[in-house]
Amino acid sequence: MSDRDQPSTPMSAEEQKAYQARQKHRAIILAALLGFMVVLFYLITIVKIGSGS
């Protein structure tokens, strides 16, 4: 984990929990987007191969 991912001031337990929840939420969305892009690039490749370009 880089320094930027760490909060600059100490957080309370509540803030720490909210921070981790947000990290998790972002990670889930990023994973879903990456999965979507994998499928999309697979389909693009199939179409490109099919059209011979």
């Binding site: 001031t9 803030e15 921070y19 947000r22 939420h25 972002r26 693009i44 179409v47």
Partner: protein
Amino acid sequence: MTTASQTIQGLASAKDLFALTKPRVMSLVIFTALCGMLAAPGTIHPVIGFTAILAISLGAGASAALNQWYEADIDAVMKRTQGRPLPAGRMDRETALHFGIGLSVFSVLLMGVAVNWFSAAFLAFSIFFYAVVYTIWLKRSTPQNIVIGGAAGAFPPAIGWAAVTGDVTLMPILLFAIIFFWTPPHFWALALFVNSDYSKAGIPMMPVVAGRQSTRKQIFGYSLILAVVAIAPFALGLAGQVYGVASIVLSTIFSVFSWQVGRSTTTRPDDMAAEKRLFKFSILYLFALFAAVVADRMIAA
């Protein structure tokens, strides 16, 4: 009142990153780009067509993020924009800048790899135009900001067209011109009844610099140019009768509403019924006109 989740430092929420792309503006971009694509001669594989629309949308979102990165100070002053992630303090500027640049690069590469490099270059230019020419250069320096900046919003249908054909001909140039000449009456009508906000932010919007009456006259003038440009595809034989009837009817109504704005002398925003009517109709006008382009093309095919 802020919650713990709103004050988390250095970690913008996914919702705020999404808000940074101005999703409502993006819907118009998607629609006009799709219309440009569907109106173009030739065919495009649905997967490639979807990817082109996605790339154009991401490019528009990137432009919006870079716009908000640069304009955080202005947004903080205006009531309409105070709730955006940056002025509300839910995100730092660096995050917005990185997100905007990252999304820009990704959208252009996606367009180039999946569709064609001509439309990718076109997309890159449109992002540059909106983020640099409009946002950084013109918006704060000239009351013509909206006129030139309108070009940035006018690129999507031409890019959509280029995604199919790999080039740009007279018809996509006219589609570009329609949005270009539509933008001043649309935004100035809004600027007339939210005038105080733009004044407060120090933006040289036409009503602030030239006054309301001059702006109203210019709105009417632009509506006449818009009518000529909108009817041109039919007059030049580039579109059929469906588009011809739609463009004549819609442009006539637009011109009448603009004429009513031109005659108005009211200074109180609450009394600006003509301006509000024109603003609302201008949105319907653009959607209906572009839908007519597609309907006409479908019928002809």
